[in-house]
């Protein structure tokens, strides 16, 4: 299953090669051409046979949050810094992979933490990766400073839900790959970008020179429909369909494009919700200012516990996200009845 392969692949920001290879192997027989740029962005083109077809840019990022080794202690532990936004508490006792080797993130045992220490917020400086080495020399057989570590977390389905690492944004990659396998009456340009989690860097480069009519970023987004969260602070709700963002900290979606998306959803019976927060940001922030401005919007699947090893999404929301993009492309193929 593609989503399982993608989410279990290693792809911390700046080291997206494994994810890119999976995507290329999936799409190479279904596209007009593809290209990998100097940063590592993968751009895939699929032209339609129709003349004067609309050009649509779909974008998802290949990278995931993770860790980078900053030092190796004399007794063989790996000190690290986070790459992208990670809640430090979510790291404790997690399994990680460094250069294919297993490790665990460890912290001082609870028995050894005194009362005062317990009151202090946890810092990543207090954590380390135990890679099973007994000395710096031995640890250096497994990892060096500057090497990356990713969460080691299996793809698991339970009930209506999927648990995996890196659903943000392998789910977006998966949606676009599936879309590329079908034929459309639009000229599709699909960007699988790098380094979104550390500053939207890949999209800034990859979206240049495309000049699409519209761009849609397909993402995973925050979902906090959990016990104790007041109704008015719930950003998205699992099971209510994909979330369309009007505004976040990085971009304001194009009003007309939002209208086209919601019209397509209604026409094709696809549920959707609006993201009820302006927090967070994604590649749309870089795309919308490119080449004199690109009309851009984001469609996201709500993900609980995002940026952790155990992100959880609803299968229905994932399917409906794909259907919403398909509905939009069908309508774009008809010229939006313009």
């Amino acid at each position: 299953m593609l989503l399982k392969k993608l989410t279990e692949a290693f792809g911390v920001s700046g080291r997206e090669g494994e994810v890119r290879d999976i995507i290329i192997s999936e799409i190479k027989d279904f596209c007009t051409d593809f290209n990998v740029d100097n940063m590592g962005n993968l751009t895939v083109c699929k032209k339609s046979k129709r003349e004067n077809a609309k050009k649509i840019l779909l974008s998802a990022h290949m990278d995931e949050v993770g860790l980078i080794v900053t030092d190796i202690t004399e007794d063989g532990y790996l000190k690290f810094a986070t790459v992208g936004g990670i809640e430090v508490e979510s790291l404790i006792s997690q399994r990680v992979k460094v250069n294919g080797h297993s490790g665990v993130i460890a912290v001082k045992a609870v028995h050894l933490i005194d009362k005062e220490e317990r009151k202090k917020p946890l810092s990543e400086k207090k954590l380390y990766i135990d890679i099973g080495a007994r000395s710096r020399d031995e640890a250096m057989n497994y990892a060096l400073r500057g090497d990356y570590a990713a969460f080691d977390s299996q793809y698991i389905e339970f009930g209506d839900m999927i648990k995996a690492k890196a659903l943000d944004d392998r789910l977006g990659c998966c949606v676009i790959v599936d879309i590329l396998k079908k034929d459309w009456d639009v000229d599709l340009v699909c960007n699988f970008t790098v380094q979104e989690e550390c500053g939207l860097r890949g999209a800034r480069v990859a979206s240049r020179g495309i000049h699409p009519d519209y761009a849609i970023v397909i993402e995973g987004t925050t979902c906090n429909d959990m016990a104790g969260v007041p109704e008015n602070l719930r950003v998205t709700k699992s099971g209510n369909g994909p979330a369309i963002s009007v505004l976040d900290s990085a971009s304001k979606a194009d009003c007309r494009l939002i209208g086209l998306l919601t019209d397509a959803a209604q026409k094709h019976g696809v549920p959707y919700q609006f993201k009820a927060s302006t927090a967070g940001g994604n590649d749309a922030g870089a795309i919308c200012t490119t080449d004199g401005g690109i009309k851009t919007a984001s469609v996201s699947v709500p993900c609980r516990y995002i940026h952790s090893p155990v992100s959880v999404m609803n299968k229905y929301d994932f399917e409906m996200c794909k259907r919403l993009i398909e509905a939009f492309l069908i309508e774009a193929g008809k010229g939006f009845d313009e």
Binding site: E231, L233, L247, I258, F274, S277, G285, T290, G293, I294
Partner: protein, 305 residues
């Protein structure tokens, strides 16, 4: 003009009404007026070749509805919205709906935006709708007063300057969209455009050495960038020659110097600030004398550079 501008609905990202207002206002001045995909309005005057651009924002801070329940609409701020000053304010939506911002706590000064809600008829409001805090404009012989005047005063000054400038030389004016939202319009426009000289204009807080009544602030350094020294000194010299009152200033605010000067292959940028008292609070105010000196300075730049 400022009074009319204050009535136009233009939160960041929803500047359509302001674009139409400006187009109508300047249609006799420019040879070409176009909007780009992000919503920037670009006005170009043909004439003897030179490369000058004047930039000012056309948007204002606002709110976006994030959820609603019964007669309450919850919201997030857009741009520099201070929750401490929102309690009891009237909010207008695009279609004329309105509501009043409420806070149930004891001390509104401690409020966060998530503690506030808009009391309104939520049937006419959707999640994602934008609103603006009502700009209740008033003036006396010395000053203009309004909520959010800082976001409109620069636009008023630029409009007045371009309408009265007498020049055969060509120049461009960027009325930028989403300026209050990470200067998105500026980033978009200058990526594809090349200018030798760019003047950006905005309201600026009267603080840290910037005083009301001392004329336009010519910004040497803002929080993110440095004005081009040569261009700044030329601007100061011509202001001295024309007896235009100005103050050279350093500010902790972001006047968008960096966004302009690092775009494309780089541009020599100078930022002008119109001193605003009580910026971000209730009834921001601008001295008419500072406004008039800024208009004169922009007009001189257009005519002489």
């Amino acid at each position: 003009m400022l009074k009319s501008l204050c009535k136009v609905f233009a939160p960041s990202g929803m500047e359509e009404q302001m674009r139409e207002y400006i187009k109508e206002c300047i249609k006799d001045v420019f040879d070409e007026i176009q909007a780009d995909n992000l919503g920037n309005l670009v006005a170009r005057k043909n004439g003897s070749q030179r490369s000058l651009c004047i930039e000012c924002g056309m948007d204002s801070c606002g709110i976006m509805v994030t959820s609603k329940m019964e007669d309450k609409a919850y919201f997030s701020g857009i741009g520099g919205v201070s929750a401490a000053y929102l309690n009891g304010k009237k909010v207008f939506f695009k279609d004329g709906n309105f509501g009043i911002i409420r806070y149930e706590g004891k001390n509104a000064a401690d409020a966060k935006v998530t503690d506030l809600y808009i009391q309104t008829d939520t049937k006419g409001i959707s999640i994602g709708d934008f609103g603006v805090v009502a700009d209740e404009y008033c003036e006396n012989s010395k000053s203009f007063f309004a909520n959010g005047v800082a976001s409109k005063i620069a636009l008023a000054a630029v409009l007045q300057a371009v309408k009265t400038a007498d020049t055969n030389k060509g120049y461009t004016v960027l009325f930028s969209a989403q300026r209050r939202f990470a200067a998105k319009g500026i980033q978009t426009f200058f990526t594809n455009e090349e200018f030798d000289r760019v003047i950006t204009v905005d309201g600026i807080s009267c603080e840290a050495g910037i005083k009301c009544g001392y004329g336009c602030a010519i910004i040497a350094v803002d929080s993110r960038g440095v004005s081009d020294k040569g261009f700044r000194e030329e601007t100061e010299n011509i202001s001295n020659d024309r007896k235009i009152k100005f103050q050279t200033a350093v500010t902790h605010e972001n006047m968008c110097i960096e966004a302009v000067s690092t775009s494309g292959s780089g541009a020599n940028c100078v930022a002008l600030g119109i001193p605003v008292a009580h910026k971000g609070k209730n009834y921001e105010s601008v001295l008419k004398s500072d406004f008039n000196e800024t208009v004169k300075l922009i007009k001189t730049v257009i005519e002489e550079f």
